[in-house]
């Protein structure tokens, strides 16, 4: 008979459960809060690593070999590190696509559609402005990619804000529609007849490609992604728009009573996220592929969601998480060759990390040391 009552108590708002302790009396509260925000995800990742080790043991593989190979394949040499960072660059931007709307409490999962359409729009912009100086072409590509991405995701925000339709479902439907549109255009009207095996658009031209960063093979996408993350962090935590967004995410009714432009904030957050995802597509075209084809739909949009949740939607935390996930992806080939593990191994590991990081949400507010103390005596 006690079980339902316990559940009843637990599901009540935290404020009703215990008398709140004023945080301003505890000098260490900021430290405690930071530690909580660091310890919970680390504990979750260790748990995921343990669960995955068990999974490998059951299959008769040595977990030590696995983690050793991931380390070597992801960070062990200059070559593998560059590979990791190369993979991380679009992930930085697609993670922002999920993390920005998340500030408002929205779960947007359709970044993939904005990535492919942004890449395609950038290619079209390059083809239309052929002959112009490379810098002009590149700027046109960036504007087209970000613009189309912003419109595509902004539509999700608009439907959410104006019609109250669930943004998770809409963004995913739009991602499928965007992919279909992309495939139709790449294999139909925009196809280069010379691309036989792998339907592609015409190339954007060698001169218009984004060159590597000096002294490396890395393309500038990494720098662009990092700058975008820092800018988003400033936007969220240092500006009034970001503050308004966080209020809306924390308590919608309070935001509405305060007269905050909730609908506009929703559209803005989605469109801005979509612009970053579109930019990711543009960079993939301009720095890696040189044309739009199926390689653009490599799942960056979906991995971005995972990274955003791992980073708990904090743009600064997105950077290390994107590198971690990029590294796991970079090690995939080595795992296949050395341990005979199928390529879906990475998905299983990602799934375990995802589940355990979300489960760790329940730890917040449970461990006493991390909570503010009443030091008034």
């Amino acid at each position: 008979m006690t079980a339902p009552q316990d559940a009843a108590l637990a599901s009540r708002p935290a404020a009703l459960r215990a008398a709140p302790v004023p945080t301003n009396t505890d000098r260490f509260y900021p430290l405690r809060r930071t530690m909580e925000a660091l310890c919970a995800p680390v504990a979750a990742m260790l748990l995921a690593a343990a669960a995955f080790s068990l999974f490998l043991l059951v299959l008769g593989k040595a977990p030590a070999d696995f983690f050793d190979l991931v380390w070597r394949g992801a960070f062990g040499s200059w070559f593998s590190l560059q590979n990791t960072l190369q993979r991380a660059s679009p992930l930085l931007l697609t993670a922002l696509c999920a993390a920005l709307p998340a500030q408002l409490g929205l779960v947007v999962i359709g970044g993939e559609g904005a990535v492919v359409l942004g890449g395609l729009a950038a290619t079209v912009a390059a083809l239309l402005s052929a002959g112009a100086p490379p810098l002009v072409v590149q700027v046109a590509m960036a504007l087209a990619g970000a613009g189309v991405g912003a419109v595509w995701m902004g539509l999700t925000g608009l439907l959410r804000a104006k019609r109250g339709i669930n943004e998770t479902i809409v963004s995913l439907l739009l991602a499928y529609i965007g992919l279909a549109l992309f495939n139709h255009l790449v294999e139909g009207p925009l196809r280069d007849p010379a691309s036989l095996n792998k339907p592609s658009t015409y190339g954007i031209g060698e001169a218009n490609m984004l060159g590597p960063l000096p002294g490396t093979d890395l393309h500038p996408g990494l720098a662009i992604g990092a700058v975008a993350c820092v800018l988003c962090w400033v936007l969220i935590s240092k500006t009034s728009i970001g503050f308004a967004a966080r209020i809306t995410g924390g308590n919608l009714r309070a935001a509405q009573l305060q007269g905050l432009p909730v609908a506009r904030l929703i559209v803005l957050a989605c469109a801005l996220g979509g612009a970053f995802a579109g930019l990711a597509g543009m960079i993939e075209v301009a720095a890696v592929h040189g044309r739009a084809n199926a390689s653009l739909a490599a799942g960056y949009g979906y991995t971005g969601i995972l990274i955003a949740f791992l980073a708990r939607h904090n743009p600064l935390a997105i950077m290390p998480m994107a590198v971690l996930l990029g590294g796991i992806g970079a090690a995939g080939g080595l795992l296949q060759r050395r341990m005979g593990l199928p390529d879906a191994t990475v998905m299983v590991l990602q799934g375990m990390i995802f589940v355990s990081i979300l489960t760790s949400e329940t730890l917040y507010g449970r461990i006493k040391w991390f909570q503010p103390r009443d030091t008034r005596r």
Partner: protein
Amino acid sequence: MIDAASVSTVAVAMLAGSLRVSTPFLFVSLGECLTEKSGRINLGNEGVLVLGAMVAYAISYHTGSPWLGVLAAALAGMLLGGAHGAICALTRVSDVAMGIAIMLAGTGIAFFFGKPYVQPTAPLLPTIPLGFWSDLPQVKSALAVSPLFFIGILAAVLLHWVLRTTRMGLRVRIVGDSEDAARALGLPIARIRLLATAAGSGLAGIGGAFLSLCYPGSWNEGLSSGQGLMAVALVVFSRWNPLTCIAAALLFGAAGALGPSLQTVGVTQGYYLFYAAPYVVTLVILVLTVLPGRSLRGMPGELSIGR
């Protein structure tokens, strides 16, 4: 090029396609409907669908009995759905986000263990030849309906009856509509939701079994194209009513069959655009049926997507 004969060919092909393509939609939407009636949403049914398809195919291949495969798919679905239900019972865990994680995990597990089953051929489920009266081979093949389709309709009627008239169904609906009321009655909220989620995912698993054992009738990594997620929209469309789910599934099936049907008469232009028809239909239906600031009739009050 477009004449009466090809229009009727397309119509027959779409009818046939609708009967085929709708079954996974039906099972997943019934499962999602049951889960949402208990006040929780499970986006993980997409992963359940893929896992169910893989498990069904593998078991059918090893035992030679496709029906055993269907059973195993349902069990695998219940297991994965049970995990979703159990974790979401913890405080502060978002069921929407956890659904995405379960989708990734389920798909990953299915691809991981499904690798060896891409090549071999497993025995498929038999079909019921309802077209025996016709001499036309198109009509014969169009009306070769899977028994799972009828089981799905039976399940819809049964679910409707259970939710509407039984004590068990009433408890599920109370938990889904108002936690406060459920608490006042002393109902075990967490347990009821866990069972509803597990049972719902069991149904979704059967939908997956249909994909690999009936139509398209093979196992590969591109088998599911988001049916598990579209089921969420389908449930909104059918107003959380299992009987309306049947009509919705048939409609979505017809939309999904549009592309292949046009191909049969030689329309190959815009294949990808026709392929996207179900998503467009879903989106249009959502835009038309959801009104801002008004809760939908039949929507469970505790549902997180409704807030």
